[in-house]
């Protein structure tokens, strides 16, 4: 086995020129991605009147912290929305991973009698669903989730896609003999699942956990459908709501009466305040992401490279 030397291994490295051009291209693309955020940051720090006169600028014409002061005094509480979002994401991810794993484990075991039926039920939901109205009726009438925090967690808790991912992993990587051996040693089914199977499936747990946490964090649809209490708004919905309201009011202005529409628009935050909200909502995440990035990549890689 030849050991990799500390100096560059010439067989594997790319030429200096390619290196440079790759850096330039990717650097340029990265800057393109960053520019909108910089613009938003700059608009949020601009005085409103200067905005009206000069439009969006990369460097604020007239510096002003007014919009930040405004959003913290505004009726909506950004801090509250953060708390709701974080809680929903953590609880939701935990629940989603747990339930999907348990379901998938059951249908991956040969000795389970109703295996075919449950697999069919799960796969069926991938192909067909009842539509938005029946979803709404089931959640509010049957389960009475209106205005509860569980409405933000439960609908995404069991997802056929995640179940399939888990099941595939269990079938290919957890050999029946391991389970038999555990049984012979006297382990109960729960013990086998939690202490053996799950421990052996950390890559897929990480993957599904990542996917579901992203789903929960970014979701605003459930809040729009089920939540009327401002104390329960998650972060994305808060932002979405304001933007949607502005667009909606402008589009109905002709029919509702322009002066009424104007009065409604004036109740909403102005341009720079909305940008400030975006910064406050995304800022901490964007800043925290580099620290967590390492774990995400590790988790995704774990499943990929196998002997």
């Amino acid at each position: 086995m030849r050991s990799a030397s500390a100096t560059t291994n010439r067989l594997n490295s790319i030429s200096k020129l390619s290196n440079l051009s790759f850096h330039l291209i990717l650097g340029f693309l990265s800057i393109l991605c960053l520019l909108p955020m910089l613009l938003i940051l700059s608009v949020s720090l601009t005085d409103e009147r200067a905005l009206n006169l000069n439009g969006f600028q990369f460097w604020p014409e007239t510096f002003s912290l007014e919009s930040y002061r405004y959003i913290f005094a505004y009726g909506y509480s950004v801090a509250n929305a953060y708390a709701v979002s974080i809680f929903v994401t953590l609880a939701g991810t935990a629940l989603c991973v747990l339930l999907s794993a348990m379901y998938a484990y059951s249908i991956s075991r040969n000795s389970f009698g109703a295996r075919r039926a449950f697999t069919f039920i799960a796969v069926f939901t991938l192909l067909y669903n009842g539509g938005l109205i029946s979803f709404y009726i089931v959640c509010t009438r049957l389960f009475d989730l209106h205005n509860q925090i569980y409405a933000l967690i439960l609908p995404y808790a069991v997802n056929a896609f995640n179940i399939i991912v888990f099941r595939t992993y269990f079938l290919t990587n957890i050999h029946e003999s391991v389970i038999e051996a555990a049984k012979m040693d006297g382990a109960s089914e729960y013990r086998i699942f939690f202490n053996i199977v799950l421990r052996m499936s950390l890559p897929v747990v990480a993957t599904v956990g990542l996917l579901s946490s992203i789903t929960y964090w970014n979701d605003w649809m459930l809040a729009m459908l089920f939540i009327d209490d401002p104390g329960l708004y998650p972060l994305q919905y808060l932002l979405m709501r304001i933007e949607n309201s502005v667009t909606a009011i402008q589009s109905v202005a002709g029919s509702a009466g322009a002066s009424y529409a104007q009065a409604e628009l004036d109740k909403l935050p102005v341009e720079s305040a909305r940008m400030a909200m975006v910064i406050v909502a995304i800022g901490p995440i964007a800043l925290a992401y580099p620290f967590f990035q390492r774990f995400f990549i590790q988790g995704l890689n774990l499943g990929a490279v196998k002997g």
């Binding site: 009147r49 905005l51 009206n52 006169l53 405004y70 005094a73 505004y74 009726g75 909506y76 009698g113 109703a114 075919r116 039926a117 069919f120 039920i121 938005l132 109205i133 709404y136 009726i137 089931v138 509010t140 009438r141 049957l142 729009m224 459908l225 009327d228 401002p230 979405m240 709501r241 304001i242 933007e243 949607n244 309201s245 502005v246 667009t247 909606a248 009011i249 402008q250 109905v252 202005a253 002709g254 029919s255 509702a256 009466g257 322009a258 002066s259 009424y260 529409a261 104007q262 009065a263 409604e264 628009l265 004036d266 109740k267 909403l268 102005v270 341009e271």
Partner: protein, 514 residues
């Protein structure tokens, strides 16, 4: 193998059966949609001896009310007060759910379809669409209820509002008592009026501002003469009563009112486009007018002379306050009552209501009881507002306009004329509104509603063609000579003639039935 699949099938069958049973349990109560029968005499509800009869006879009832508004942190506080008052009057309590502006398109259909018990809902021609809902029989007929419990409403609400919401002789919604007509007007920036000594009374139609625009152009290089676009592009100040948005087909108010014509082929319209093009090229109109997204932001700068707006008495004061400018409003058309202007804000009683009589009693109060109305409008006296005199209020000390804990869009319900004036409003505001309503002329199509179903495909195609040309033509940013005819032809190819023929057919039938 056979055994196994048999077991599986019977298992799945059992599961389906269980699901069916559960869904029946959940929906049982509200499948009464079909069996509600005639709304005015349901068997089980109590009825008072007279319209202001003894409250003890009425059982307590919660009125579930949905309308469009932003959230208010103190809504529950205010509702508690309102409910104390309402319980004394009609032994009912209110539960208000506000659907936010951005959610209107998605949430209203869901809420209406979910079968939840809703007693009162906002409806109009732009939210929770009135006519499709009536066609689906989602709303109760109000004629008898109005006779029995809403006598006072009839005294207050002008007949045109009632006509606008009546379909085939049946009334389905009660409009807010506010301005009844629409009237295109110019909002003029007073700063320039004083500077150049413009004579505002000389402006009688849209063309009359041309000399003023010329002066503006010559002397104010970085301001715009006519600022249009965005909120105001649909305000074409001509004498056509359009049947359906985004599609040609109107009745000429000044011509033969029994014929529906393609207004783009008329000389008046062609002249309008030509004028706009002329003004655009001369520089009276800003170069990016067709794509301005939020004209209010631009309005605040004050760098403009005139903009079109739909006029209501003293509307300019609202804009004054919001934009921090001094403005005047100059109407350029007669105020006209259209089906659209009467359908802008209404309340209807959905089929799922369990006690429509109580709801009608509440509506009766909403149109006559000043204390109730103002509680809903402004909140609690002392906490949210204070009275400066009998009929005027202002914000309570310590309440900042930008973070009011309670505000309400009163134009969506009841009798707006009951609302106390806000400090700074002129004292004759409501008198002016009444005069405005009196002076309004009903449009020839008032009460006619066009059913677009037979020509839906053509409408979609024509609308696409419309959006390509008309917004730009209306601000003059593209060449009239070339594109007006092209636009008309394109819309014709998309089926505008078929649509107009269909409109004519339905219109004739409606006229014959009057």
């Amino acid at each position: 193998m056979v055994n196994k699949s048999r077991g599986t099938y019977s298992f799945v069958a059992a599961l389906l059966a269980l699901a069916l049973v559960l869904s029946a349990c959940g929906n049982g109560n509200d499948n009464a949609a079909g069996t509600a029968g005639s709304a005015s005499t349901p068997a089980g509800s109590t009825q008072p001896a007279s319209s202001d009869g003894s409250v003890q006879e009425l059982e307590p009832y919660e009125i579930n009310w949905y309308y469009v508004d932003g959230p208010a942190p103190d809504l529950d506080l205010v509702l508690a007060e309102v409910n104390k008052y309402l319980t004394d009057k009609i032994n009912a309590t209110l539960k208000i759910t506000r659907i936010d502006w951005g959610d209107v398109e998605t949430k209203f259909p869901l809420v209406m379809a979910s079968g939840e018990k809703i007693d009162l809902t906002f409806t109009s021609n732009w939210a929770n669409d009135f006519r499709p809902n009536v066609a689906k029989k989602a709303f109760l007929e109000l004629n008898d209820l109005l006779e029995q419990y809403g006598q006072d409403i009839k005294k207050v609400l002008p007949q045109s509002f009632i006509d606008g919401a009546t379909i085939n002789g049946k009334l389905y919604a009660l409009a807010t008592n506010k301005e009844i007509a629409e009237q295109p007007a110019y909002l003029i920036n007073n700063a320039f009026v004083e500077k150049y000594g413009f004579e505002l009374s000389a402006i009688k139609s849209y063309k009359d501002i041309e000399p003023m625009l010329k002066t503006m152009k010559e002397n104010e290089p970085d301001s715009f003469g006519l600022s249009i676009g965005g909120l105001t592009t649909t305000m074409v100040p001509l004498s056509f009563d359009r049947i359906l948005e985004g599609v040609p087909g109107s009745v000429d108010k000044n011509g033969d009112t029994t014929k529906i014509i393609n207004e783009f082929e008329t000389a008046e319209m062609q002249d309008y486009f030509a004028t706009m093009r002329n003004w655009y090229q001369t520089g009276y109109i800003r170069k990016d007018a067709a794509t301005v997204a939020n004209p209010a932001e631009d309005a605040k700068t004050g760098k403009w002379f005139a903009r079109t707006v739909s006029y209501t008495p003293y509307a300019e004061l609202n804009f004054n306050r919001d934009w921090n400018l001094s403005l005047s409003a100059v109407p350029i058309q007669q105020p006209m009552i259209t089906t659209g202007s009467t359908n802008g804000a209404m309340l209807a009683i959905p089929r799922s209501s369990e006690n429509p009589e109580r709801v009608m009693m509440f509506l009766n109060l909403l149109y006559t009881d000043s204390k109730l109305y103002n509680m809903l409008a402004y909140g609690i006296e002392g906490t949210h507002y204070v009275k400066t005199d009998d009929n005027t209020v202002e914000l309570a000390p310590g309440v900042d306009p930008s973070n009011r804990k309670y505000a309400s869009s009163t134009w969506e319900y009841g009798n707006m004329f009951l609302q106390h004036l806000f400090k700074g409003d002129p004292t004759d505001k409501w008198a002016k509104y009444e005069a405005f309503n009196q002076s309004a002329v009903p449009a020839p199509t008032l009460g006619f509603s066009f059913d677009p179903q037979p020509v839906m495909n053509e409408i979609t195609a024509v609308r696409n063609a419309w959006n390509q040309y008309i917004p730009a033509l209306a601000v003059g940013s593209i060449d009239t000579d070339k594109y007006v005819q092209e636009a008309i032809d394109k819309m014709k190819r998309a089926g505008s003639d078929t649509i107009i023929a269909e409109m004519q057919k339905q219109y004739d039938a409606w006229l014959a039935s009057k």
